[in-house]
């Protein structure tokens, strides 16, 4: 059960190399690309715009609608069949919940803000990369936000607690636990938490601390990306 050394040579609490850029999709109202290791996510924001179907409209507030999709060639192994799956629908849902707490859409009744996330290449941690990119795209679109949202997948591989799990680790033969977490980096509030695998309560506590540290690092990359587009030259 021992996991001595990470397959890509990282320290156990080390994130993969990250890259972030905003404004990569000029047709969108806001957009971003976020790359962690070999996982590459694009996010585009459209809206607020009129919501169809009309029965979904809320006269008290605008709604957030997230769509997650893996490009057919972006998976490891066989081609991913195009179109929505149960998995992609669920991820869309948890992304909405991860992002909504930083937004105030009450000024846009009956409207929708659409967030589209597309994965160009995947090496685990795709929903987290998607959330990180989407929050940048929302900022790029000019929404007032309480904070950015940064997300990372922490977990347990063999007997070790690790940060930013990659696909090889996720598939670790003797067992791996994957815990995707999204946080508001300034306050450490949690907006996404999922877990599959097996950890003790104490391990979970440590993982939350690790996630807090990691999302702060991601936050710096996010802020830098925004400064590159909007900062004083």
């Amino acid at each position: 059960m021992t996991y001595e050394k990470r397959s890509d040579g990282r320290k156990f609490d080390e994130l993969r190399p990250m890259e972030a850029k905003v404004g990569v999709i000029p047709r969108a109202d806001g957009s971003a690309m976020f790359k962690t290791g070999k996982t590459i996510a694009y996010a585009a924001v459209y809206g607020p715009r009129q919501l169809h179907p009309s029965h979904m409209r809320n006269p008290e507030t605008g709604i957030l609608r997230c769509n997650y999709n893996m490009m057919s060639f972006s998976g490891s192994g066989e081609r991913v069949r195009p179109g929505p799956s149960r998995r992609s629908k669920e991820i869309g849902l948890v992304m909405e919940k991860a992002l909504l707490p930083v937004l105030d859409l009450s000024g846009f009744p009956n409207s929708v803000v659409d967030v589209f996330v597309e994965l160009l290449q995947t090496d685990a941690g795709t929903r987290c990369a998607g959330i990180t990119a989407a929050s940048l795209a929302l900022a790029d679109a000019g929404f007032m936000m309480k904070d950015l949202v940064a997300a990372v997948s922490v977990g347990k591989v063999g007997d070790k607690l690790v940060t930013d799990v990659n696909k090889e680790e996720e598939d670790f033969e003797e067992g791996a636990t994957d815990v995707p977490i999204a946080m508001l980096p300034r306050t450490g509030q949690i907006t996404l938490l999922q877990l599959d695998g097996k950890v003790s309560k104490d391990e979970l506590k440590t993982l939350l601390e690790n996630a807090k540290k990691a999302t702060k690092e991601i936050y710096e990359v996010q802020k830098q990306a925004l400064k590159e587009k909007y900062g004083a030259k």
């Binding site: 999709i25 047709r27 585009a44 715009r49 769509n67 081609r79 195009p82």
Partner: protein
């Protein structure tokens, strides 16, 4: 007149001008980047034509051949007009526009005979390679037909076969060979629009919306035509069509020289 309106586009063209300052027969800058999804796809590429950006990837699977072509593999082309790439595209099952786009790209590759499908045969009547080519716009600023066709071809050019284990009958996707898909020639799509009495290439969105007719011509090195598609609501007479094809062929020839 509002920028981007039909009237504006038409009035500009009458003066020999376009919205972005190009000549009528001038292409935007084209960039090709290979291996943009190298970890996942057997082949991948990103194509930018001006502000239009399209990615394409190739996944290879082993399957059974069609009964009437037992010694041939095949390609399956799929395009999805992502709502990520334009406010005009909606979520949902593939609409007719994305189906047309993928079928035109498919025919361009297939009919150019650039891939000898017999070379995709592993065991006649039993096992052949199936090449899935998936095309996604990232940002649509017009001329998706040409961009999609070029991205699909570039992804094929980038593709290397993974290892196929005949014993387990499984593809080992984490092990790539050095073997490329043999490509015999370079099919090049060039779309021409007719707006009033003017012909333009590499259209912007506003020009596409103002167009009377659209003709996509896919040609190969020797100048012969391997696929065509007319779109748009207005008819064309044969003189007009020939003019459009000539423009397309000359641009494709020019372009082919630059493509390496």
């Amino acid at each position: 007149m509002v920028n981007g309106s039909k009237k504006y586009i038409k009035a500009l063209l009458q003066k020999g001008l376009r919205e972005d300052g190009r000549k009528l027969d001038e292409y935007r800058n084209v960039e090709i980047e290979y291996g943009v999804s190298a970890k996942s796809a057997e082949g991948s590429a990103r194509v930018k034509i001006g502000g239009t950006e399209v990615v394409a990837g190739v996944k290879m699977e082993v399957g059974e051949p069609f009964p009437d072509k037992p010694d041939q593999g095949t390609i399956v082309v799929n395009a999805e007009l992502l709502p990520l790439s334009s406010p005009d595209f909606e979520s949902g099952p593939p609409g007719v526009d994305s189906i047309e786009l993928s079928r035109v790209v498919d025919r361009g590759i297939r009919e150019s005979k650039t891939i000898d499908f017999k070379k995709l045969c592993i065991k006649s009547g039993e096992k052949v390679w199936l090449l899935f080519i998936d095309i996604y716009p990232i940002n649509n600023e017009g001329n998706l037909f040409d961009a999609a066709a070029l991205a699909a071809f570039a992804a094929l050019k980038d593709a290397k076969f993974p290892v196929y284990d005949e014993k387990t009958e499984k593809v080992k996707y984490d092990e790539k060979t050095e073997k490329h898909v043999p490509l015999e020639n370079l099919p090049m799509a060039c779309t021409v629009l007719k707006i009033d009495d003017k012909f333009i290439i590499d259209p912007l969105i506003a020009e596409e919306k103002a167009a009377d007719a659209r003709v996509t011509t896919v040609s190969i090195e020797d100048g012969s035509i391997c696929a065509m598609q007319k779109g748009g609501e207005k008819p064309l007479n044969s003189e007009e069509l020939v003019k459009m094809v000539e423009l397309s062929l000359s641009k494709a020839a020019e372009f082919r020289k630059a493509f390496k």
